[in-house]
């Protein structure tokens, strides 16, 4: 009765408190009320639990996180008190676990679920039969468990910590206790009967191992936070101490951590972590089961800075160690005793306390259980295997090599981590230290996935990771109907469970209040399937593209552009095409979009973007840029495209190399080259920093076959050449390189392929004029700007074939003229003319002196060259005007022997024909030239050549005027001996200028007085001259003595009659002046006799008198052959031709 009253009293109190709480606005009081209710119900009247559970749990939808936490506390306590409560609250827990409003609630829920999970398993194990309700509750807890385990990757540090603790709980709960475990009064797998269908111990243990592996993985993850790391470390150590079979793995994990501390930790965090690790290791060391790993632990501890005494203090007593050793040395052979769960159940943890000495029956079973576990440990431990492997190889030699190799990678200053943790090596070189180093290396190698240990454990690892989360037994899930569990994350319950199980609804949710939950995108989203993602993107893009006008009207144009740009960075090729088409539709209007896009892409490519990659774009900045410009270049309507293209090149963040290539291709098209080269020009001025990158393309264009393109490109190249010294060098190198191709026997393949159109395939490659010029254009353009390049040409010239040489000589004119005579480089070239390049030099000099007189320097050098090295007289021709008189005269015999054209050229130079009369000065006057010709020694030069040379002079009537010739004749006549050609020249002069007759008479007279007949050739000429100049010459003839006169008559018989007529006309006094013998010779009668006939001339009497004194009869015969009346200039030449 009293109890009833108490119960009622409590009940009333609770009702009051809860009602009050529901109305309270003060959260603190609300929590206090709930706490009181909890206290009252749990501790005073648990029977009321059933009544009030719903009411209390209803507070879980309270807006205050503390209230919800209080509810969780209540739930936890309620379950602890009465297992039957579990099915009623699991759904609530599931809701609370999803609490997206407060992380604190989630953490508290994880904590509560941990306990409730444990309680539930215990409840299941102890229940006589498993009801549907229990089954449902367990499977729901299972889902929550998986969710919590997945929280190890949660965003929140605290949630991760709680998840780690939860995992620890799962591992400890779902494994068997072992001898030497920490004594924990807790329920574990020992208490789970083999017959429990919904939670098979074997499955549970397997799951525990997987979870443990997850923990190890988390522990070793490179960016773990220090709190997580320490929590995880603590959990692992706890597991190792409670379940010694895990010790090996845990120690490996700690070793690996020690060798690879997360780089994200700060200095003090490193200190904390090391301190913590030291603590954990000391704890492990205390544990007797760690005996096998003592060496590793001690090494680690020493590394962490633990003193010997600390280590010694933590060592278990020697006696216990010995015992342990004994046990491991004689492993229990009762491996067959591995099965029974019954025995295990006997072996309750409490017994362990004093069992150690006795080794009872239960111990055998547990020892047997240990054996496979140990085996597994060894198999698992990759580090151990690699350690042994490394230790075997760690000789001083190898160690030294390793140190040397790693020297390069040492940073300049020791990192904080290192200086923090470095302890001097005291036992260097000892066996144990080598072992330790091997261990450290092994840890690093294993971490990097290298070494024999990793190989050996790879299979094992696969098994571990392939673990199936499915916890159902075969009996419950018959083959073929295995329930698919979507993902670890998934909280959905489907299939069998849904139809068979009791649906567990959250308690106290009849009047659900809807809480405003903040949106957590990462929690509620999951990656879309790829095709769906693409479909959505396409649709989104379509809408955005279509929204152009509304966006513009609505003032969101820039937002739209930005959006599109950001999306574009993650496009697939199809979407890119779509975007491109859109842009090309209205290039002018959408240029801004293009640039937003490009800049976005550029940011991505250089890593400025802070926008997470939703989907890796398949195209990068460069590709997109090229795609855009290519698309623009092929557009037929070029107007808009042209502007955009120019903007693209000038305003884009960077013009990639491939774009320059495309532009090059664009520029080499005859249809578009103008724009292309214009773009190049703008690039050069607009992006001067990157000029170097345009050079190769421009150079190629500048050496192309099409002339217009080449010329434009050449202009640009020259502009470049001027702009900077480095670029100039680059250009020149290229030019010289191409020039050198000329030196090869056949055109290099590169050149030919450059010009495929001009040289059809299959044809043997040969140097053509075209090809040779291609090599020269750039060089020649550069030559006036960089005169020193001329020397290269001279060297190459020597090597070239005759055809190429010709081409070179032909194209050389303009640049050489551009350089001018004063160019020191040209002078040097003349001076240092390489052997074989004489023709080149000649050509150069020719060009230089073609229109202007040679400079003194040039003349000096040419003269020098002529005298010392090359005796080819042609060298001198260009500089003739610079030589002095005697030199010219000395060279004349050689000069006139050259090709008539050349001789003409020589005379032109000497006489200043074609030359600019203003500054013309010749070493020889025309008179001197002609005189010099007459004075050439016939031994040096045959007469015919000289005659030809003089004829050339006569042909220049402007120069050899009457007066000039008169002077020449006079000078010649005064010479002694008379020049051979004197009379020929006289005749010629007379033929040209009749008015010279007086002078000629004068000459003839003078000659007559100089006994001209003694010089045979002149005498012949004399006679001829007389024939030509009759009747004026009669006077001269009459002055001849009789013998020469006879000779004259013999040579020219007609003269006799004419002269006779002439004499007959004389008066008597005149006749008296004639010598009698002459008179007789002329008239055939004595002076005083009357002529028989007056008017008709006397008939010739050729053979009347033999010429006894005539020395050469042949002459007469010869001269007869020629008609005496010939006025042509050639006739006398032939006469003198011997």
């Amino acid at each position: 009765m009293a109890a009833m009253e108490v119960g009622n009293d409590v009940q009333e109190q609770c009702v009051e408190l809860l009602n009050e709480a529901a109305l309270l606005t003060d959260d603190v009081k609300k929590v206090a009320n709930l706490k009181k209710v909890q206290e009252l119900i749990i501790h005073q009247d648990p029977a009321l639990l059933d009544n009030f559970l719903d009411e209390v749990v209803a507070f879980q939808s309270d807006t205050n996180a503390e209230v919800r936490r209080a509810v969780l506390g209540f739930i936890e306590e309620a379950c602890r008190k009465d297992h039957e409560m579990v099915p009623k609250v699991v759904a609530n827990l599931s809701l609370l676990l999803q609490d997206s409003f407060s992380v604190a609630v989630v953490k508290r829920t994880i904590q509560a679920i941990g306990n409730i999970y444990k309680i539930t398993l215990q409840w299941l194990s102890q229940a006589r039969s498993v009801t549907d309700l229990m089954d449902s509750a367990w499977s729901m807890l299972g889902q929550m468990k998986r969710q919590i385990i997945s929280y190890v990757d949660h965003d929140n540090d605290g949630v991760r910590t709680m998840a780690v603790k939860f995992m620890e709980m799962v591992v400890l709960l779902q494994t068997y206790s072992e001898p030497g475990s920490l004594k924990r009064q807790e329920f574990c797998l020992d208490g789970v009967p083999m017959t429990l269908k919904i939670a098979r111990p074997r499955k549970l243990e397997e799951e525990a191992r997987t979870v443990f592996a997850e923990m190890i993985k988390f522990h070793g993850s490179p960016h773990i936070s220090s709190v997580n790391l320490m929590a995880c470390m603590g959990s692992l150590t706890l597991i190792a101490r409670c379940r010694p079979s895990f010790i090996g793995q845990v120690i490996s994990a700690l070793e690996s951590l020690h060798a690879n501390l997360p780089p994200t930790l700060s200095k003090s965090q490193v200190n904390s972590v090391r301190k913590h690790m030291k603590m954990q290791l000391l704890n492990l060391l205390k544990h007797p089961a760690s005996y096998d790993s003592h060496r590793n632990i001690c090494t680690l501890l020493t590394d962490l800075g633990a003193s010997q005494s600390e280590v010694a203090r933590a060592m278990p007593p020697a006696e216990e160690l010995r015992k342990r050793q004994r046990r491991t040395e004689e492993p229990p052979g009762a491996a067959d005793d591995d099965t029974p769960g019954t025995k295990r159940q006997k072996f309750v943890p409490e017994d362990d306390d004093d069992d150690d000495e006795e080794v009872p029956a239960g111990r055998v079973a547990s020892g047997a259980r240990l054996a496979p576990v140990d085996k597994m440990k060894h198999k698992l431990n990759a580090i151990d295997i690699t350690e042994t492997w490394a230790a075997e190889r760690l000789t001083p030699q190898l160690a030294a090599d390793l140190v040397l190799v790693s020297m390069q990678h040492l940073p300049d200053a020791p990192p904080a981590l290192f200086s923090n943790t470095f302890t001097p090596i005291s036992a260097a070189g000892t066996r144990s230290q080598i072992q330790h180093v091997a261990r450290l290396l092994a840890a690093q190698l294993t971490k990097a996935g290298l070494g024999p240990g990793v190989e050996a454990t790879r299979n094992q690892g696969i098994q571990m990771t392939d673990h199936d989360w499915e916890m159902e037994d075969e009996e419950e899930a018959p083959a073929g109907s295995r329930r698919p569990i979507a993902t670890v994350l998934s909280g959905t319950v489907t299939g069998r469970e849904a139809k068979k199980k009791v649906a567990l609804l959250p308690s106290g949710q009849m009047h659900k209040k809807h809480m405003a939950k903040p949106l957590r995108l990462t929690e509620i989203t999951r990656p879309l399937p790829k095709d769906e993602l693409e479909k959505s993107m396409t649709a989104a893009l379509d809408r955005l593209l279509a929204a152009e006008k509304p966006a513009r009207v609505g003032g969101l144009f820039s937002v739209r552009a930005k959006l599109l740009a950001m999306m574009s960075a993650h496009f697939t090729p199809q979407l890119l095409d779509k975007m491109l088409v859109h842009i090309l539709e209205d290039m002018r209007g959408r240029a801004d979009l293009v640039f937003s896009w490009l800049y976005e892409e550029y940011c991505n490519s250089v890593g400025f973007s802070n926008f997470g990659q939703v989907m890796r774009s398949t195209a990068n900045y460069e590709q997109i840029f090229c795609m855009l410009i290519s698309a623009l270049m092929v557009r037929p309507d070029f107007k808009d495209g042209e502007i955009l293209l120019t903007r693209l090149f000038l305003e884009a963040p960077v013009v990639p190399a491939s774009a320059v290539d495309i532009l090059k291709g664009f520029s080499s098209d005859p249809a578009t080259y103008q724009l292309g080269l214009q773009l190049f020009g703008q690039l050069l001025s607009g992006r001067p920093g990157r000029q170097a990158s345009y050079v190769p393309a421009l150079l190629q264009l500048a050496t192309g076959a099409a002339q217009e393109i080449r010329d434009r490109a050449l202009e640009l190249v020259l502009q470049l050449h001027q702009s900077s010294a480095t670029l100039a060098t680059l250009v020149e190198q290229h030019a010289v390189e191409r020039l050198k191709w000329l030196g090869e026997e056949t055109p290099p393949a590169q050149l030919v392929t450059d010009q495929q159109s001009t040289v059809p395939e299959g044809v043997t490659r040969e140097w053509t004029d075209e090809l040779a010029k291609l090599c020269l254009h750039l060089y020649l353009a550069l030559l006036p700007r960089r005169e020193s390049l001329i020397h290269e040409l001279a060297h190459v010239y020597v090597l070239t074939t005759a055809d190429v040489k010709r081409t070179i000589l032909r194209v050389l004119e303009a640049p050489i003229r551009g350089m001018g005579m004063e160019s020191p480089e040209l002078l040097t070239l003349v001076e240092t003319c390489p052997k074989g390049a004489e023709t080149l030099i000649t050509r150069v000099i020719h060009i230089l002196t073609d229109k202007t007189p040679p400079s003194v320097e040039l003349v000096d050098r040419v003269r020098d060259l002529y005298q010392k090295r090359v005796s080819d007289v042609r060298f001198l021709i260009p500089v003739l005007n610079g030589l002095n008189k005697s030199e010219v005269i000395a060279a004349l015999p050689k000069l006139i022997r050259l090709n008539p054209v050349v001789v003409k050229e020589v005379f032109n130079r000497l006489l200043g024909i074609h030359a600019d009369t203003g500054n013309f000065s010749s070493p020889l006057t025309p008179v001197e030239l002609l005189v010099a010709l007459h004075n050439i020694d016939p031994a040096k030069c045959d007469m015919k050549t000289i005659i030809k040379a003089t004829s050339l002079c006569f042909a220049e009537k402007q120069v050899y005027t009457q007066e000039v010739l008169a002077v020449v004749l006079q000078q010649l006549m005064e010479q002694d001996p008379l020049p051979v050609l004197l009379m020929r020249t006289v005749i010629q002069s007379l033929a040209l200028y009749n008015r010279l007759i007086g002078l000629v008479m004068n000459i003839l007279t003078r000659l007559a007085s100089r006994q001209v007949w003694t010089e045979k050739k002149v005498w012949e000429g004399f006679i001829k001259c007389c024939q030509r100049t009759k009747p004026s010459s009669y006077q001269v003839l009459l002055q001849l003595p009789v013998d020469p006169l006879r000779e004259v008559f013999d040579t020219a018989p007609e003269l006799r009659a004419q002269l006779r007529d002439y004499v007959n006309g004389f008066t008597a006094s005149q006749r008296e002046h004639l010598p009698a013998d002459v008179f007789e010779l002329i008239t055939g009668r004595k002076p005083g006799e009357e002529p028989q006939r007056v008017s008709p001339p006397p008939a010739p009497e050729p053979a009347a008198e033999p010429p006894p004194r005539l020395p050469r009869a042949r002459n007469r015969k010869r001269s007869k052959r020629h008609p005496p009346s010939s006025g042509a200039a050639d006739a006398p030449m032939k006469a003198i031709d011997y």
């Binding site: 992380v103 540090d157 709680m162 603790k165 920490l182 320490m230 003090s268 904390s272 603590m279």
Partner: protein, 209 residues
């Protein structure tokens, strides 16, 4: 006072508040560090308790090798009187009496952390040796409900000046920790900021109740 190798471990605490409650575990000298921090804390919104971690309460005596030793459980009142009797002028001069006087108004007597069953969110120690002891204590316990507790060590030297500075530092840190919406998530960052601001090395570790 400066030369004292005091090993008394006084303590101080407040009720656990419903939200993140911060408890400070201060070590060593009553006067110079732990309780010095106390009045500063007291004016703030968070609750503080202070504890010792050693076996005995040790206070400086007439000579360095003759400390005054009391068991935990002795009241401040008792100690105050005891010292007053022993050498009033000496203990007035070195400030011990003044300190005890202040302490006895705050709480009855020194408390030992190991004997306290309350759960805290944060434990702060002022000396690495004490930090080690705290960790050892937690390690030796069996975690029951896995409630995390952050153990933080800030080295504060055992003299008046440092203790005053230290008190403000700790108070500053506590304020920040209290203000945090999600302590677990923020503590790493807060501590790093604190470290760089205070130019002191901080040790930090998470343990579980």
């Amino acid at each position: 006072m400066r030369s004292h190798t005091t090993s008394d471990r006084p303590a101080r605490s407040d009720e656990r508040r419903p939200r993140d409650v911060i408890t400070v575990q201060l070590s060593r000298v009553v006067q110079s560090r732990a309780l010095r921090a106390h009045p500063v804390h007291g004016k703030k919104s968070f609750t503080v308790q202070s504890f010792g971690t050693g076996d005995k309460v040790k206070l400086p005596g007439s000579a360095p090798n003759k400390p005054n030793i009391y068991d935990f459980g002795t009241t401040y009142e008792h100690i105050y009187r005891d010292l007053q009797e022993k050498d009033r002028s000496l203990y007035t001069q070195n400030g011990l009496l003044h300190m005890l006087d202040r302490n006895r108004r705050i709480k009855p007597g020194p408390q030992r952390l190991q004997e306290c069953s309350d759960k805290f969110d944060v434990v702060i120690s002022c000396e690495e040796r004490v930090y080690d002891q705290i960790l050892e204590m937690f390690e030796s316990r069996e975690p029951v409900d896995n409630t995390p507790v952050h153990v933080i060590n800030i080295d504060i030297q055992d003299n008046h000046e440092e203790a005053t500075i230290g008190a403000f530092l700790i108070c500053d840190l506590c304020t920040q920790l209290e203000d945090s919406q999600d302590l677990e998530d923020d503590i790493d960052e807060l501590l790093q900021e604190f470290e760089s601001k205070a130019k002191r090395q901080v040790l930090h570790c998470v343990q579980f109740y």
